[in-house]
Symmetry: C2
Subunit: 349 residues, 2 copies
């Protein structure tokens, strides 16, 4: 079941519809989405990454056939498939390059293989860019023309839409908001999985927050997390959040620090794009607006932005949590496929 | 006379044509540009900023009439006027906000007044964004779909084009590349004219380079510039360049430092936009490729980018000097007017 979208019956659907497929290192989300962004059918299957990409392609196609049959949509009403995957990727050629989350899938021609297996044209897109398109189409950004989405998870992903146009980049590296530099010092931190120094992902991803906690605890920080660490348990972002909810000052300081660097990165992104709306998605939201910790996290981000930007830009910019949760990716992939379908149709008629 | 463009005769022109007007704090450049970016007539007039904006509007209109008459273009062949001005501005409403370079022009409705005086529809645009459109249309970016332009002068301006689309921003603050953050420390430098801390303009503009030189000399830096400073002469970016040409190690270190921060800012911009091409315009180019100092400046920028980005992005990105010099602004304003004219024409036919 989708995490936040309800499944609607065919009788309420607005046809035609589009597949949205969101490939992750652990799971693959597959949804059939109608012309206004409603989900008609959904299934999450396991990736089985080490078994290679072709078996996953075959199971994606099988799941699509089963879902279409289950909800009763005729094949001719399904126009295109949107495929979001983690980078690195070569969008024009439809290939993976070397995505760290999919080490056995390097250089695989995923776009054309999915197209062959499903019998549909495929729109190939970065997973975070897909999520931004989902929030833009039917989520937090449904009433605006431009937005920036940051996805805060194991890494920091991003998607940027300017006047309805998604920035994919010339080298399939557009909208990589986790790789803006927030620390220019020559000895700045490295991302957990390498890459350039001082980039946002090395300060504001779940892995970065966990890593900083471990460093601090080893250096003698006073915290309820020390007990966890001594018991041999992993100090994860989730456990840091739980400690912060219990009032642990060290855990709160770690979250404040991540928020500070997010505020810096967001200032840079806003001064580049000036989208009017910045949306925070992904699993690392520290409880979101439901939790005092999540509200503090958001406040600290906004405060840092306020300190670094200009009054008119501050007044014209909203920073808030996303609304589609884990569904943004497949919905956005379907929406992007829909947009390409409409462009092609308008060209040929 | 334009600084790099030749004036072509009407017989070689490709009609229709468009006015490009580039308003600066000291001078206003006015060019009549044909459908393929060639200049048919050009004049530079003084801004007389303290006399207020209306007198400048009247002289812009007068100059346009004289230039059109001089080159023999019929009025009906001139379709639109592109107007580039320094920010801050409110593009949708056609107003200045409070541009620091035009202190007597605050809140003036420049777009509509120019339109009335010249009898043409006006496309209103930020000056650096206009310059980026010039480089995109007929300059360094004439063969690509996306680019980032940085204009290095008293401040650092910028213009970003993604798949042919100029980023103007929701708050008329898009493409403000001088305001990306390159130093996140709470005590980072402020821009010469205030604003948020740690922004590129505070490290890589001509005023910032001059200010750092003065600070260093006061702190006892050994340099041929000391003599200048003691003689009561201003230590400007131009004089720093001259000292560097003479082998002054301190002057070279100042230029290296500006290049380092530009490399950081460019990495951030490329990871956001991934345009494939980054172009350096503006007066502060330290002699450009004609000078060993300019080449060293460019090399240091490229080196910093190489250290902070990823191999495939590095391989797919060119960083180079712009080609249109001081003409980029008026040519780009005319080109942007042409684009809006074509959009409107396609809508109504």
């Amino acid at each position: 079941m989708p995490t936040s979208q309800e499944i609607i019956p065919l009788s309420r659907a607005c046809l035609p519809c589009f597949w949205g497929v969101d490939v992750g290192g652990t799971n693959i989300k597959i949804g059939l989405v109608d012309d206004v962004g409603q989900t008609l059918a959904f299934e999450e299957i396991e990736t089985h990454e080490p078994d290679g990409p072709q078996q996953a392609v075959d199971r994606i196609a099988l799941t699509c056939r089963q879902l279409a049959e289950r909800c009763g949509v005729a094949a001719e009403q399904i126009k295109r498939l949107g495929l979001g995957t983690p980078g690195t990727m070569d969008i024009p050629r439809g290939l993976f390059v070397e995505p760290p989350n999919l080490p056995h899938w390097f250089h695989f021609p995923i776009r054309d293989r999915v197209s062959q297996a499903c019998g549909l044209p495929v729109s190939f897109i970065n997973d975070a860019n897909a999520a931004s398109f989902g929030e833009f189409w039917v989520g937090k950004g449904a009433k605006v023309d431009s937005l920036i989405l940051l996805t805060l998870g194991t890494g920091v992903g991003g998607g940027i839409i300017v006047d309805g146009h998604l920035i994919n980049g010339v080298n399939s590296f557009g909208s990589e908001c986790g790789h803006v530099i927030v620390d220019s010092h020559p000895d700045a931190r490295l991302c957990v999985w390498g890459g350039g120094r001082g980039q946002l992902e090395a300060y504001a991803s779940a892995s970065a927050v966990a890593q900083r906690a471990q460093e601090g605890l080893r250096a003698g920080a006073v915290s309820s997390l020390t007990r966890l660490a001594m018991a041999g348990k992993a100090v994860t972002a989730k456990r840091i959040y739980e400690a912060a909810e219990g009032g642990d000052q060290y855990a709160l300081s770690l979250i404040d620090e991540a928020a500070y660097y997010l505020g810096i990165g967001i200032t840079t992104l806003v001064h580049t794009i000036d989208p009017g709306l910045v949306v925070l998605g992904g699993a690392m939201n520290f409880g979101g607006t439901q939790s005092p910790v999540g509200r503090r996290f958001l406040d600290k981000i906004r405060q840092t932005f306020a300190e670094r930007t200009f009054p008119n830009v501050l007044a014209g910019t909203t920073i808030d949590f996303a609304t589609l949760g884990g569904d943004a990716g497949y919905i956005g992939a379907a929406g992007f496929a829909r947009k390409q379908f409409m462009l092609e149709t308008s060209r040929t008629t």
